[in-house]
């Protein structure tokens, strides 16, 4: 039964991707890529990757769509010129496709427990998580503790991208803006989306907090929670207008969040060093190494969540501030 469902979902993915590339209306292409992300999230769920599915649904179907729409509002809604090198492009991609498909015949069968990928370090992670960290969600344990350096690096990539967008778009406001009367700002004059949306926001925020702090026990963690929290605030900004959203969470505070989260993560590493351990070795944080690991995970996940929220919201506001429509 699952295999039929996954074949159906995978086929839908390919159909959506073809439609995205073929369609000339960019607005439709962006909407289709939101659907693509949702289908991809469903696929991830079938492949036992609940954490990844949660992230893809929040980021791909939610925030990415909003950002693309914001960029479309400032650029163009349709692509007009047709490329001259379509023939060559088709030959190149088809040849590569055939080579890739030929290569798949050498791959271990799908789901084979004896495949090389499952032999090296993965069983060690599954076994050691129980003794060393004692939390049920192995993904969070690997993310935060075993591969803490890696995640710190990723947080700084997100941090750098956020700073980059702020430098490119935030530096000067995009020309004289048309004054928008208070009543028509955002979606405030549409009663149904406004009232339904407002009712949803507290629950989305609560869910974000749950995903953040329950990440050790169930699928979740800082990356997902940050994306969900940002999505709730973006919904608020869409409904009530930029001004009120920036009043609730001012840009100054967001910049502080961007740096603060990354610093909190790095700071935990420095504290562990001062306590005589290695960088990001949380075992020294408490008398009991297992308790120390759990404490460290909680703090660094909070750091990740803070930075991701700050960056995604700042990027959204940077785009929205340039809107001239």
């Amino acid at each position: 039964m699952t295999i039929i469902l996954s074949i159906f979902l995978l086929t839908m993915l390919v159909i959506t991707a073809v439609a995205i590339v073929r369609i000339r209306n960019l607005f439709a292409a962006v909407m289709l890529s939101g659907i693509f992300s949702l289908l991809l999230a469903a696929n991830f769920f079938l492949l036992d990757a609940a954490d990844v599915a949660l992230t893809e649904a929040a980021v791909g179907a939610g925030i990415s769509t909003v950002l693309f729409l914001g960029a479309l509002a400032m650029t163009a809604e349709t692509e007009h010129s047709s490329s001259t090198n379509r023939g060559i492009a088709l030959i190149v991609t088809t040849t590569t496709l055939l080579a890739l498909i030929y290569a798949t015949f050498d791959k271990p069968a799908f789901g084979d427990p004896a495949a090389p990928i499952h032999q090296h370090v993965a069983p060690w992670y599954l076994e050691t998580t129980r003794e060393a960290i004692d939390i049920p969600n192995v993904v969070t344990a690997v993310l935060g503790s075993f591969r803490g350096y890696d995640t710190l690096g990723e947080v700084f990539v997100v941090f750098t991208a956020g700073i980059g967008v702020l430098f490119m778009l935030g530096a000067r406001s995009g020309g004289p803006k048309r004054a928008i009367p208070e009543q028509t700002e955002g979606l405030r004059h549409y009663q149904v989306p406004r009232i339904v949306g407002r009712m949803l926001i507290p629950f989305i925020l609560l869910f974000a907090l749950y995903v953040q702090f329950h990440g050790e026990y169930s699928p979740g963690g800082g990356f997902q929670a940050g994306a969900i929290f940002a999505a709730a605030m973006i919904l608020y900004a869409l409904l009530e207008g930029e001004k009120r959203a920036l009043h609730a969470l001012p840009q100054k505070l967001l910049v502080f969040l961007i740096a603060g989260g990354a610093l909190l993560y790095g700071g935990v590493g420095v504290v562990t060093m001062l306590l005589g351990g290695n960088f990001l070795d949380y075992s020294v944080l408490a008398d009991d190494p297992v308790k120390g690991q759990q404490m460290g995970l909680l703090v660094i996940e909070a750091g990740v969540g803070i930075t991701v929220t700050g960056v995604l919201l700042s990027i959204y506001h940077a785009f929205a501030a340039r809107d001239k429509f």
């Binding site: 995978l10 696929n43 990415s64 650029t75 692509e79 590569t96 890739l100 498909i101 778009l169």
Partner: protein, 119 residues
């Protein structure tokens, strides 16, 4: 049935090439960026497909599961989880550049930009 076992990998290859086609054959910069994120999504799918173990479940321990329960590989999931968030940040950076290009050149079609540059 043996062919069905490779279906995930074929879908990966097809999606990768659809994204690649959009990047090289489309002239609209936003379309190129959408193509790039399709390419990225294909790589995510490859990693997660490789981490799946038949009969396994999501790598979250629970007392309700039997003792000999198989778990899918957590490592590719960790890598892709962070990659998705990094991916959206880089896409946002790309969109920021496109908006700046539109402001300077008045167009986001590659051939028109090159024409303006040549003048």
């Amino acid at each position: 049935m043996a062919l069905l076992e490779l279906y995930h990998y074929w879908v990966f290859a097809v999606l990768l090439m659809i994204g690649f086609y959009a990047v090289i054959a489309k002239l609209n910069l936003i379309k190129k960026l959408i193509g790039l994120s399709l390419f990225q999504a294909a790589v995510f799918l490859l990693y997660i497909s490789m981490g799946k173990v038949s009969g396994g479940t999501a790598p979250v321990f629970s007392e309700m599961l039997p003792d000999d329960q198989l778990f899918s590989n957590p490592l590719p999931q960790v890598l892709i989880l962070t990659a998705i968030v990094v991916g959206i940040s880089t896409v946002a950076l790309g969109l920021g550049m496109i908006v700046r290009i539109k402001e300077e050149y008045g167009t986001i079609e590659e051939n028109e930009i090159q024409e303006i540059d040549r003048r």
